[in-house]
Structure formats: structure tokens, C-alpha cells
């Protein structure tokens, strides 16, 4: 989780021009860091490439839109990193 968070935080800092020290495990990518949907495509691209995964953004968005999940479950960084770790683990299984 720690190394995943460091990698994700570095990607967000570089991609979205956000000071690295303001990006915390508890940060919400949208409401706290102000990353809009277009910038998040760049973040998703960099995360997909860095971890060799395909984050299921459409599925997550659909779940949020249907009220089956909250944005916090996917876009608070500690939760996002947990999902990334799970995707990486599933890839290696």
C-alpha cells in the first residue's frame, strides 16, 4: 500500500500539477484535490501503465451513478490504492 500510494501520489502531482506534500492517503481525488474528469483520464492512463492494469473506471462510475457505491470508495486515495493492489494481485494470480 505504501509504495502504491507513493507511486499514485507522484503520478497525481506530476500529471495534475498538484504539490506532492498536499496529497495524503485520506485525500479525495475529486473533492479534495480538485482533479476533474479529463485530468483523471491522464491519471488513469499513468496508473494503468505503471501497474500494468486496466482500472475499471466505467464500472466504478456506473456503481456510483446507480447508488451502489460512493465516490469515497473509489476516489479517496487509500481506497483507490487498495483497489489498485487488488487489481495487481488478480493479474498475478
Amino acid at each position: 500500500m505504501s509504495s502504491t500510494f507513493d507511486a499514485v501520489a507522484n503520478i497525481i502531482a506530476e500529471t495534475c500539477d498538484i504539490p506532492r506534500d498536499t496529497i495524503k492517503l485520506e485525500s479525495h481525488a475529486i473533492s479534495d484535490l480538485g482533479i476533474d474528469s479529463l485530468d483523471f483520464l491522464d491519471v488513469a492512463f499513468a496508473i494503468d501503465k505503471a501497474f500494468g492494469i486496466k482500472m475499471p473506471l466505467e464500472q466504478w462510475t456506473q456503481e456510483v451513478n446507480e447508488g451502489k457505491a460512493t465516490t469515497e470508495q473509489y476516489f479517496v486515495l487509500k481506497n483507490l490504492c487498495a483497489h489498485i493492489d487488488a487489481l495487481v494481485a488478480a493479474k498475478g494470480a
Binding site: 479529463l38 491522464d42 488513469a44 492512463f45 494503468d48 486496466k54 473506471l57 466505467e58
Partner: protein, 157 residues
Amino acid sequence: MRFEYFQLIDRIVNLDLGERTIRTQATVPVASTIFEGHFPGFPLMPGVLLLESMAQASGWLIIGVTGFSRMPFLAAFNQAKLRAFVKPGDSLEITAALTHEGSGFARTKAEIRNDGKLACNAELTFRVVEFPNQEFRRHMEKAAAALAFPMESPANG
């Protein structure tokens, strides 16, 4: 090219779904009202239309890779470079390669060659969504046929 219809690709020469690349051809019209303003006495194809040409080539590639099931909408250009003038009557080869297929988005690298010389290149990002409606999809199928889009390719993988 038919500027007035925003149709900037004339023909799909090759669509390689294995390599995830596309090669297209387009000829800049000899005459257009656009050249009356861009520029008087020195007509050039506008850079924004060169970028759009790469977007259209990339878009047909993504439509091919997704089996004509989804529609790409241009979202961003990165590292766009206009390297040489393109003039009326020039014959262009516009190519693109899919570099990443994400969830609901895709990235390509595209370039335009004019008589073999690199004239323009960029990285492009698209949102990739379901066709908004059947009428729009039918329009795209009709446009695909006019460009010699290989409709059988998606089924053959």
C-alpha cells in the same frame, strides 16, 4: 478531404487490428473558402484541421478495435507538433497507433506525412462511450462504407 463536411479522411488504406494501427489517405482540396482567409496569397491547411485529421484517423482505429461497438470522442492532445506547411493539393498519409485502451478512454499516437516527410504528429486521448443513438451509429456506418472501412475486420479480430 471535404472541409465543408468536416470529412478529413478520404480512404482507409489499411486497418491492422493485431498491430492496432491504421493507415489512411487524404488529399487537400485545391480550392476552398478556408484558403481565402488562411492565408490570402499564401494558402495553407490550418493546423487545427491537421490535428482533426489525426483525430479522425485515430477515431476510425478505435472504432475498429472496439468492433464498431463504441464511439470515441476527442478529449485531449499532447505533444502536438506542426512541423511543416501543408498546401492545397497535397496528398497526405495519416497514420495512428493505439497505445492504450483504458476503461472508457483510449490513447493514440498519430502522424501525418506529406510526400513521405513528417508534417505533424501528436498523442491523442479519447473518451470512448456507447453510441449516443442508433441514428448516429447508422451515420457512422455510412461514413465508414464511404471510406472503405473494412466492416468484416471486427468479426475476424
